[in-house]
Symmetry: D2
């Protein structure tokens, strides 16, 4: 059901004193995956910002299942649904070596222009999973 | 109802190209608040780790309400409840200048020893809000 | 000889798998110290950016002497000299508990406007140590 | 003269409010390049740490030449020399699209075991450029 996936390598500095990837870093992975997904579809988060259009995260839910560690490669997957004005990214990150689920996440974002909420963006609507 | 609060200053490097604090950084603020809360109660996250006891985040929910920006001071608040084996941290971050809610979060954590789930930790139980 | 100092607390997420503050984090501390120093003198890095004026780091030298660890408080100090078009920040970070030197740094920065190098900025010149 | 290179994509969260990759992030790139270089030669920074052997950065010099921006791909290169007890990494990062030099760096590191300075490590000596 996931429509996009990105492979990344854990970087040692992303690990904390417990020797595992720090919780907050998964949000970095999730964001980078969304932005690369957009880029692959010719939509640039930074270009949109320069045009005054900002995609903003409204809500995040992350379930942590298994920790990533130094030397791990991760596979980050997503698909998008639209619910009202929200673009809901369903995301998951797997450890590549054994396909184990590391985290599952739901990221709800909205689009704003000059601070005002938009009902959507055609460029984003085209990426929604139906 | 919050039993602990910590004041922090936004650091410019925490802001991303949108000129606002990046979403993932709030998880840094939330973690630092929990660890300072523990320290104030003579419980050290790093000392526990060195004894083989790890507090691990199992689930995070964050609602983003208002963005923090350069020069902002934030007030980060929490209280803890216990639900089964989970310690549930109810956290919120406010902008100090106008007391506006920036994020609201629920962070569920468990305690493990040598990878095994513990039913709890006396040092943590003493901090739970009744 | 240092003309400004800022006290910060180590945050556990700033520590890496070696259990010490990661090398790159010291650059965060150094930047935050410079920006807080500017702010205390009514110069805002982010406001300057919004006016098209950017202070940009051209060169960094850091000598790492002693590691910071969880629970440490650090004292970050600086003074500024001007050398040609460069503002040279002489910075050092000390561990508060025993006053031990953790790092010593020299950060050379220049000011640009619309990508063009400026010979200086009156607001910065006023802060230079003579 | 560089003996190893690694290609990385800029991640939007690595950019700060100036819209360019933050200065401190280059140290992340540099570290990750060194550690991947070691891994490719069957030396693991994290495994060494677990055996009580730590490679520690003693000194860093970075010259910033051109900024990396969202959507950029970077090519990070290195070679290593030994000077006394120090392993000196000569590193540079180039923008892939036009081969422009972004930063040039010299990173001096030493190896310690239980806090004591070692004169070197055979596994590292084998990687030194002669």
């Amino acid at each position: 059901m996931y429509t996009y996936e990105l492979e990344l390598k854990v970087r040692d500095y992303e690990c904390d004193l417990q020797g595992i990837v720090n919780n907050s870093v998964y949000q970095n992975y999730l964001e980078h995956t969304r932005h690369e997904f957009l880029l692959e579809n010719n939509v640039s988060f930074s270009d949109l910002h320069n045009q005054g259009i900002d995609a903003v995260v409204a809500r995040v839910q992350i379930s942590y299942k298994n920790s990533l560690r130094p030397k791990d490669t991760l596979v980050s997957k997503l698909y998008v649904k639209k619910e009202g004005v929200k673009y809901v990214f369903h995301q998951a990150i797997f450890r590549k070596s054994d396909d184990k689920l590391c985290i599952k996440a739901k990221v709800e974002s909205v689009v704003t222009q000059g601070g005002k909420l938009l009902s959507g963006l055609p460029a984003f609507d085209a990426l929604v999973d139906k």
